[in-house]
């Protein structure tokens, strides 16, 4: 059974059909890419999958449980983390504290516990371990606001990981990153692969082709193609494109 299964999702906003019968499955331990051109409905899809919007029709199941229509918070508590296209970090706080703030211990007890947790070595150690996973061990004491853009992206993934999710959603992680930053991010994600189930929503095809086990192509609010990167690459029109030349 797939870890995450969305079936026949429909979503309309006024005069627009935003999602039309989208079905997606994410297998445990796999990295799935969702790609599509701008305006294809990727973000709405992401928001329906992670509970921000309720679908008009269709269902979402996670680990065998129906989570359709649950709030983002409730979905997060089931073990699904998401990072956002627009980063939300606490700029005044250090990288380490940003991670600590989303550790299960703090989320259980509330923000007031942060000071106490600062002295709680176990929590600090695991937050530090998360920073190491995302390559920011040497930036632990630097305030989030002073990190480079690429480092902030990595920290955001760290914040998402601190919640110890079973499933991690990343929304346009390469947005705003240059070639070097994108390469570094790809390296980071490749290291996380297999440690947990990852879903990446991204318009940069090349980024996904090199990382994903499977890719779903979304356009017009529908899944228009699906397959492994190799299967999708075989398409003659992909061969004809820049992507074919670079792949």
């Amino acid at each position: 059974m797939a870890l995450f299964e969305a079936k026949q999702l429909h979503k309309r906003f006024g005069d627009q059909v935003v999602l039309e019968n989208i079905s997606l499955t994410f297998e445990e331990g796999q990295l799935t890419g969702i790609m599509g051109p701008n305006g294809a409905g990727k973000s709405t899809c992401f928001n329906v999958l992670t509970g921000r919007f309720r679908p008009d029709r269709g269902s979402v199941r996670f680990a065998g449980e129906d989570i359709t229509g649950l709030s983002s918070r409730e979905i997060a508590s089931k073990g699904i983390s998401r990072s956002f296209q627009i980063m939300n970090l606490f700029n005044e706080e250090t990288a380490l504290d940003n991670v600590l703030l989303s550790s299960p211990a703090v989320r259980k007890k509330g923000f007031s516990m942060l000071r106490d947790l600062g002295r709680n070595n176990t929590a600090r150690d695991s937050a530090f371990a998360v920073l190491s996973r995302v390559g920011l061990a040497d930036k632990a004491d630097v305030s989030a606001g002073s990190l480079s853009y690429g480092e902030r992206r990595a920290l955001e993934i760290g914040v998402a990981l601190a919640a110890e999710p079973r499933l991690l959603f990343l929304d346009e992680p390469t947005a705003g990153l240059g070639a070097e930053g994108t390469a570094r991010l790809a390296q980071l994600i490749a290291q996380l692969k297999r440690q947990l189930t990852i879903v990446i929503i991204e318009h940069d095809m090349r980024f996904l082709f090199n990382l994903a086990d499977r890719i779903s192509v979304i356009h017009w609010g529908q899944v228009i193609a699906e397959g492994t990167p190799n299967e999708l690459r075989e398409n003659p029109w992909v061969q004809r494109s820049n992507l074919g030349a670079l792949a």
């Binding site: 059909v17 228009i224 193609a225 029109w237």
Partner: protein, 211 residues
């Protein structure tokens, strides 16, 4: 007898100007039937009425006379919010479902189908550099294999657009606007057949296939 996927019956759409001395500014006439699944290429100059025809088929626009049957159901008698269960209008990268309303929803019937049978793609953006074209064409084929009727409206201005139409379309409609501003449809089974007509050749210009 099975029901046709689409019947456009003596459909006309008139736009007029002036209160007393009415002057027709635009007029579209269409009458055709497509029984089974197919991929139909639609061409015509800007302003010839391609989008208007799509709007009439999806029930977004009201005909002046005639009717449109999608899978046997008169689209203009179906509740506004349910018309997209019969026909979908894809406008470039998104899907529209706005409707000119002429009677309240409760007077209308429910859609007899759950998923759209007719899919109309209005000038989708084909960018040869990003590779999405291949997935878009596969999607048209998948819809057809699932028993749907696909319209692909393109305004060819590069050779690749002709390649796309030749690769994917099984029949063609050309919307021709004459000197009296009356738009009528021409039908053909291939692009080469269609482009034997001088008006189509003029429209295609350098892209017209050799005679």
């Amino acid at each position: 007898m099975s029901t046709s996927l689409l019947r456009v019956e003596r459909l006309t759409k008139l736009y007029q100007r002036g209160m007393i001395q009415k002057q027709t500014t635009f007029s579209l006439e269409a009458d055709f039937e497509i029984a089974g699944p197919s991929i139909v290429g639609v061409m015509g100059a800007n302003g010839a009425g391609k989008t208007t025809m799509f709007e009439l088929i999806t029930g977004g626009n009201l005909p002046s006379s005639g009717r449109v049957l999608v899978a046997g159901q008169d689209i203009h008698r179906v509740r506004y919010g349910e018309r997209d269960r019969l026909a979908l209008h894809y406008h470039q990268s998104y899907q529209l479902r706005s409707f000119t309303r002429n009677r309240p929803n409760f007077m209308l019937e429910h859609a007899a189908k759950d998923r759209a049978k007719v899919h109309l793609f209005d000038e989708p953006q084909f960018n040869t550099q990003d590779g999405y074209i291949g997935f878009m064409l596969d999607f048209f084929r998948k819809l057809r294999a699932d028993g749907k009727l696909v319209f692909l409206c393109l305004h060819p201005n590069e050779p690749v657009h002709i390649d796309i139409m030749n690769e994917i379309c099984e029949r063609f409609i050309f919307v021709n606007k004459d000197e009296n501003r009356v738009s009528r449809l021409m039908y053909a089974d291939s692009l080469s057949e269609l482009s034997r007509d001088a008006r189509v050749r003029t429209y295609l210009g350098k892209l017209a296939p050799p005679l």
